[in-house]
């Protein structure tokens, strides 16, 4: 455990050293080196814990009432450390080149990036409620400063502001959560809280608080409002870390909370399943309507969090229905999807960053044809697109497959609720998967394929090796997890065991089944790769297989096609966004072609976030109106403030002294 803490210290110190170096060009490299060293050190105990060995917990006395500096690593924490340890160093390295053109001093972004990584690691190891909250806040604040790095733009400041409010609404719920839990258990140490006996009503209240508190960080619909604003506003490697990894701390928190709440009720499982379905379907529906590449990716995080919630919900229902197969497959799929999503989503954000770096635009409809000028970025983005659409042979398929199987394996003849769950899980995942594939066909197709749609796209060029290699590494991991699926699921099993609260023997047959089934998908994936390669090889060796004539695209006899006649992203997605227009409420502005000598026409669409427009804006406006009268008390006249203090003190005195004889 000391090594783990040492890793976090290295992260923070290297970040601080980078601040001291100021504008020097060495600073980003020093911070990245620190990230590699810190994560490398922290990886040692994490791997030990994942291998099933015990990592000595660490306990230091702390003068804070109720708090103790206790750290520990179990299977659950260790598994959630994996994405952090994987993505932070790669993203930090990527940042070295990404930030090279930046004119601003880089101190803040370098320091807070490393601080964010360190705080996430510490969060996983924290074993005390108060410590957890403190680290949670450090994490929130560091990420806030990362979001507002480009704070000279008004929209970035606004995004930071939204994020700050959203995260603190979550923290408020968590404060209440830990306060209530600590009162029931008599201590805030996780050992005590896990052993606390809770009445079902109390446990349900705590569960609701945990869903709100952790869900606002994870991005459950409708608490996701900060994601589509903050992720596009932050620099791309920061978005990769935040969207790929940081939002998963919400999932970790929720799972950790579940270990403390005793036997789960079926209602909790249903809650998560419904949240998952709504987040998944609406996340991808909103993603389809976006033109901003990074905003699209941010909505896909909402979708994937939905998939994770579906898995966890199915696992919880498995626990309350006593179905070990559902427990293993649901929790296993959900938790594995955390790692998978971290890998492909950070890869997608890095890819989007490369596109922005090279073309200076995030608007999908201004891009096109980048595959020819940016081969590396194109291939890695393609891999990640297939992976996030849940397609074999990549990693996204493995975890979605497990969740599907959880849905199927729960059905029992004559029990209606199991069938309803199966309909929701399999039907929901199917529609989410289909829409995600459509959305990434749109994103990849419009950005990388066809002809350039603007000068931005024509001037695109491939980036340097420092940005390419992190992406290539992540793409290789996407494929690796897809092919070595049984191995991947083995690392998840200890975490499943902790969340399920039963020992592995009870889950043994189901775990063996999951591993056996995944070796089936692994073989299919491998033979798919080999067969595709074989067919391509045969195709090249055909008598005239290498003979190529190059000509224009067939445009039905039309002689002068231009790049502007290509199908755009908006038109590609239009049939699907039309299906969801009841919630998307896309606004269209258009100048129609009019008269005999038309001057030109324009068309634009914009899809504002429904939860923001219809829920939070009216809500906060109402709150503002209700509390407005109280503002009259705050007017800046110091002598009246003194009067308030005096009145309060007198009242307190009367209250405390009045009861005594």
């Amino acid at each position: 455990m000391h090594v783990f803490i040492l890793g976090c210290v290295i992260l923070v110190l290297s970040g601080a050293a980078a601040v001291l170096l100021g504008r020097s060009r060495v600073a980003p490299w020093l911070a990245a080196l620190g990230a590699w060293a810190g994560c490398g050190a922290a990886a040692i105990p994490v791997i030990t814990a994942l291998a099933g060995q015990n990592v000595e917990p660490l306990q230091i006395a702390w003068s804070m009432p109720g708090g103790s500096l206790s750290f520990g690593l179990d299977g659950l924490s260790a598994f959630f450390c994996l994405p952090i340890l994987l993505v932070s160093p790669l993203a930090a390295l990527y940042g070295c080149e990404y930030l090279a053109r930046e004119k601003k001093p880089l101190g803040s972004i370098l320091f807070f990036f490393n601080a964010l990584a360190a705080s996430m690691l510490l969060l996983m190891a924290a074993r005390n409620g108060l410590l957890f909250l403190v680290v949670w806040e450090i994490m929130a604040i560091s990420s806030f400063f990362l979001v507002i790095f480009d704070g000279e733009h008004a929209h970035v400041r606004e995004a930071g502001w939204t994020y700050l409010i959203a995260t603190h609404i979550g923290t408020a719920a968590l404060l209440v959560f830990f306060a209530l839990l600590g009162r029931q258990a008599g201590s805030l140490d996780f050992e005590a809280t896990a052993a606390a006996k809770l009445a079902p009503a109390m446990a349900s209240v705590l569960f609701a608080l945990a869903v709100v508190g952790f869900g606002s960080k994870a991005g459950f619909f409708p608490l996701h409002v900060w994601l589509p604003e903050a992720h596009p506003a932050a620099p791309s490697h920061v978005s990769a870390l935040m969207s790929g990894v940081m939002i998963k701390t919400g999932i970790y928190g929720l799972l950790r909370a579940l270990t403390m709440l005793g036997t789960p009720l079926a209602a909790w499982g249903w809650t998560l399943v419904i949240i998952g379905l709504v987040s998944g379907v609406l996340g991808v529906a909103f993603a389809l309507a976006q033109h901003d590449l990074k905003c699209l990716l941010a909505y896909h995080s909402v979708e994937n969090i939905g998939i994770i919630a579906l898995g966890i919900g199915a696992g919880l229902l498995g626990l309350s229905w006593n179905q070990p197969a559902m427990v293993v497959l649901g929790f296993g799929g959900g938790i594995l999807h955390v790692l998978n999503h971290a890998v492909f989503k950070s890869l997608l954000f890095l890819g989007a960053g490369t596109v922005v770096h090279s073309t200076h635009t995030r608007d999908i409809d201004h891009l096109g044809g980048l595959f020819k000028s940016m081969r590396w970025t194109g291939v890695t983005f393609l891999v990640a697109s297939a992976a996030i659409s849940g397609l074999p042979p990549f990693n996204g398929f493995v975890s979605e497959f497990l969740i599907y199987l959880a849905g199927f394996s729960g059905v029992r003849a004559g029990v209606a609720e199991t069938v309803v769950l199966a309909i929701v899980v399999t039907g929901g995942l199917a529609i989410i998967g289909g829409l995600a594939a459509a959305c990434f066909a749109k994103a990849f197709g419009t950005v990388f394929l066809g002809e350039p749609r603007s000068d931005h796209a024509t001037q695109a060029h491939e980036v340097g090796a420092v940005m390419r290699w992190p992406m290539a590494t992540l793409a290789a991991i996407c494929l690796g997890i897809g092919l070595l699926a049984p191995l991947a699921v083995r690392t998840v099993l200890p975490a499943v065991q902790i969340v399920a609260g039963t020992d592995i023997a009870a889950l043994g047959t189901s775990s063996a089944l999951a591993i056996q089934v995944l070796s089936g998908t692994g073989w299919v994936s491998l033979s798919l790769l080999l067969l595709a390669a074989g067919l391509f090889f045969i195709r090249r060796r055909l008598p005239r297989g290498q003979e190529q004539t190059v000509t224009g695209t067939w445009d039905c006899g039309y002689a002068r096609p231009t790049a502007r006649m290509q199908y755009t992203a908006s038109s590609f997605a239009q049939p699907l966004t039309d299906l969801f227009r009841f919630i998307l409420r896309t606004r269209r502005q258009s100048d129609q072609v009019q008269g005999f000598f038309p001057k030109g026409a324009t068309f634009g669409t914009e899809t504002p976030d429904a939860a923001r427009e219809w829920l939070f804006v009216p809500l906060f406006r109402t709150i503002d109106r209700v509390v407005a009268p109280i503002r009259r008390m705050q007017h800046g006249r110091v002598h009246e403030y003194l009067l308030y203090i005096a009145i309060v003190l007198v009242l307190l005195l009367i209250w405390k002294a009045g009861g005594r004889p």
Binding site: G369, F371, R375, L382, A386, S389, G390, L391, P392, F397, F401, L405, F408, V411, A413, G414, V419, A422, I423, T426, G427, A430, I431, G434, A437, A438, A441, G445, L449, G450, E451, V517, G520, T521, W523, V524, S527, L528, L531, A532, A533, L535, F536, R539, L542, G545, E547, Q548, T549, V550, T551, T553, W554, P561, Q566, Y567, S571, F572, Q574, L579
Partner: protein
């Protein structure tokens, strides 16, 4: 796994192109024409693999790889499909999910290749293809859910050999409902009338055919062969449901299965001959209707 199991995919790989010949012959008979030879697709494939290729200036590596990737997906799908009591050579719990996602990958590859050409028509076809696929997939899984519930197992081979018409009258009703639902999917996924018209001459109205406008030579051969394999996979699933394969001894199952495939193929031809193509806006309703059939089957199953 024995050699006998590999007879199934080998037959499929060999006979799949024949199905399109049968469909065209049925349509010709209905129209009072003599029609093309039954083996026309074999001749076409043989001709195409001997040709060179023409590529558009706009295209990249994607369109060159897509045919191989798509064909690999459908070829593997064939190995996952059982014939009644005969197990597929590749069978494990949840293989139906793999099958659906392999078809999804094949679609992803062809859609991207269509966008690679930069043609407005192919973009339009790609857009419609992904829309209908997104609606078709839930229907496919809902149908599978009925079978899983009925058979009590999750693997496709186990389900198909576990289904039995002997357990009561509702069983056959359920199977027919699911078979109807999957038959609509067959028409959708293989771009047949009334969803799509493979013979249309107007690019604006096509879905699948417009996406393959820019293929030539061996690439086009791969695409055509892959499409016939896909038709085989869906037809085989329907045959598994409606033909009482399990009540005959194993040696009789293969001829009976092939007979069933012939019947389904003729049925596709008949549907194509007597129906008109639907307007595009109507297609989602058909797909949602097909999903409803499976949901009805689920309700019937639960009420029993």
């Amino acid at each position: 796994m024995t050699v006998l199991h590999w007879v199934l995919p080998l037959t499929a790989w060999a006979l799949a192109p024949l199905m399109l010949g049968i469909i065209n012959r049925v349509k010709a008979v209905f129209a009072g024409r003599r029609g093309q030879p039954l083996l026309q697709l074999y001749y076409d494939l043989f001709k195409l693999v001997q040709k060179g290729s023409v590529y558009s200036r706009s295209t990249s590596l994607v369109i060159r790889i897509a045919p191989s990737a798509a064909l690999a997906c459908t070829a593997i799908c064939v190995t996952l499909v059982p014939w009644g009591g005969l197990r597929a050579p590749v069978a494990f719990a949840g293989d139906i999910i793999v099958l659906a996602y392999l078809l999804g990958l094949a679609r992803f590859a062809t859609v991207l290749a269509a966008l690679d050409t930069g043609s407005a028509f192919e973009g339009m076809g790609a857009s419609r293809e992904v829309q209908f696929a997104a609606l078709a997939e839930p229907s496919f899984f809902l149908g599978m859910l009925v079978l899983v519930l009925r058979a009590g197992t999750v693997g496709l081979s186990d389900v198909m050999s576990g289904l039995s018409t002997a357990t009561g009258p509702t069983s056959s009703i359920l199977l027919v409902l699911v078979a109807c639902s999957w038959f609509v999917l067959l028409l959708t996924e293989n771009s047949r009338i009334p969803i799509d018209d493979p013979n249309t001459h107007l690019e604006l109205t096509m879905i699948h055919e417009v996406m393959v406008l820019d293929y030539s030579g061996p690439d086009f051969a791969y695409i055509l062969y892959g499409a016939s394999l896909k038709l085989w996979v869906f037809a085989a699933l329907v045959v598994n449901l409606i033909v009482p394969l399990r009540s005959v001894p194993p040696w009789g199952q293969i001829p009976l299965f092939l007979l069933g495939m012939g019947v389904v193929t003729v049925l596709v031809g008949v549907v194509e001959s007597i129906l008109a193509r639907l307007r595009l806006q109507q297609v989602p309703k058909v797909l949602i209707g097909s999903a409803t059939l499976s949901v009805i089957a689920l309700i019937v199953e639960l009420m029993e």
